[in-house]
Amino acid sequence: MSAASDVGHSAQRQARWHFGEVAFWLVVLACGFAFPSRYLIMTDILRLALFTMSLDLILGYAGIVSLGHAAFFGVGAYAAGLLALHGIINEPVLALVVAGLAAMVLGFATSFLVIRGVDLTRLMVTLGIALLLEALAERFSNITGGTDGLQGIEMQPILGQIPFDMFGKAGFFYSLTVLFLLFLFARRVVHSPFGLSLRAIKNNPLRAAAIGIPVNRRLIAIYTLAAFYAGIAGALFTQTTAIASLDVFAFERSADLMLVLVIGGTGYLYGGLIGAVIFRMLQELFSTITPQYWQFWIGLVLVVIVLVGRQRLHRWVLYVPNLVIKQVAGRKAVVAVPESDS
């Protein structure tokens, strides 16, 4: 078998749906029915998962380190809030898409700044853009409501049929549907030739350019797409909580996001989803122990993760599942091991 067809074959095999993936989504769906009293926190996890998936697209697949991803989240959140508050677009799904597009436009505009320069410049520029937007939102407090945030947002029924209820049930299934659809799309993208070329760029931009991949155009495309995803996550935040305040742009949000992604693992789409679940549980745990100082323990988790080494950690975590799979199915490692990213 020639090398080219070998690669194609392997890519196709990876793109196929595995049994484990189907099981994962069934479990998520089952959670919606199993814990009816926990809709709010579960919706929160779904939002965070979507947001993290967005960062994974640029960090895990394209290798762009961003410290200001909250910028797009914030734009999406404010867009959705303003649309609903002023009754411009009352229908949530349409407003969601419009908010996502608003973030996407910003993503496209700023992508030209981000693709220039090396890691350090990117860090600074992404961080700067988020801070700039935060300063702008504070400055134009007559539009954004300043530190009080947008208040009195009332959401209309989804598609004119399903109203948001106070237990968050509608919000949960709404978020889940959005997350699942966007996940399907992201999955399609990362397994396409486009997605494979992104990985080539991440591993070695120079070599990728040498084999004819238009590096800058690909990076702009994925950055714009990631901005769209982040905007949708922000809009979901506003729509399900009915608030949008300045802290949507906060640096802590971007920093936490990185932690979530790192806990779950970069470079495979489930990393964001799993990371979001673990992160929220950790947060709950820490804030029950020390309500005020949970940030200390979150910081400690970060430090330990880095010192132990992310890849080693993931190997340990996957050790037992892989052992079980080996025993039961008699084959090797089906559970995806995150790619290295150095």
Binding site: L127, F296, L302, V306, S342
Partner: protein, 289 residues
């Protein structure tokens, strides 16, 4: 006219302070290529040490300043030897995550020990108030900052350019492998430089309590300022960060005075424009190799 000069003076004092705070970062980030977002935590440590010594134990302010330097440097060298040095060869992402983690820990720890409100250091009477010089209002405290920071800058420049240690450091930075081949103990040079940078940050933290405000969120609030100084200034010499600090200080003070509504907007825009225009900093070679 005099208002402009007073603003200029305040801006210079502010800029010099930023330089002392950030020049340690210029070495770790610019020269050793290590993204240390926790730099502000060392500054905060120095500030709080000074505050405790002066306010609670009755030390004179000028005696507490050196101790702020020493304590931050000590924390720096312990962390460098135990944690940081394992991360020099790791990816930028790992370094960012690690140092953000440290920052979060320091913020929560100081909050736990000292409370979350802003603290002030009791200044001696000689440093309070201001006097007029040809109609220009000169704050005594700011004048002292300019003197101290100016002397430090000259001292640093001399050490880097003239002493044996300075040439060792420059050699170790230019080419660590060749330097260690010549018998220079590169890790030791880096450890010492790192500790010295942390010490300077600690001193800066103690001095800045009056001007920038000292509270547990100091490392997060001013992280961006330190990063701007280093990335805009470049790292080929100490002059780049110095000029960048002055520019930033004057720009920020002027921005707050003349367009108060725009707030930090001016600074961030300036930074993004400069980084787009010259991705490797205004003065000098590439920061990250």
């Amino acid at each position: 006219m005099t208002a402009i000069l007073t603003n200029l003076f305040d801006g210079v004092a502010y800029g010099m302070l930023l330089f002392v705070l950030a020049c340690g970062l210029a070495v770790t980030l610019g020269l050793m290529n290590f993204v240390n977002l926790a730099h502000g935590a060392f500054a905060m440590a120095g500030g709080y040490v000074c505050m405790v010594l002066v306010n609670r134990m009755g030390w004179p302010f000028f005696a507490a300043l050196p101790l702020a330097f020493v304590s931050s440097a000590a924390i720096g060298i312990v962390l460098e030897r135990t944690l940081y040095r394992h991360l020099y060869a790791r990816s930028h992402l790992d370094q960012v995550l690690f140092t953000i983690g440290l920052t979060f820990m320091s913020v929560a720890a100081v909050d736990y020990i000292q409370g979350s409100s802003r603290v002030f250091i009791n200044l001696p009477a000689a440093l309070q108030g201001q006097f007029d010089l040809f109609g220009v209002g000169i704050g005594r405290y700011r004048l002292m900052i300019i003197v101290i920071c100016g002397l430090l800058t000259i001292g640093l420049q001399l050490v880097l350019a003239k002493t044996r240690f300075g040439s060792r450091l420059r050699a170790a930075v230019d080419d660590p492998r060749a330097a260690s081949g010549l018998g220079i103990n590169v890790p030791q040079v880096f450890a010492f430089t790192f500790a010295f940078g942390c010490g300077l940050a600690g001193l800066g933290g103690a001095l800045s309590a009056e001007i920038l405000g000292l509270d547990p969120y100091f490392p997060l609030k001013f992280m961006i300022y330190f990063l701007i100084v280093v990335t805009v200034g470049g790292s080929s010499s100490i002059t780049g960060p110095f000029l960048a600090s002055l520019l930033l200080g004057i720009g920020d003070v002027a921005g707050k005075y003349y367009v108060p509504k725009m707030g930090p907007f001016v600074i961030y825009t300036m930074m993004i424009v400069i980084l787009i225009w010259r991705p490797n900093g205004l003065f000098g070679r590439t920061a990250a190799r």
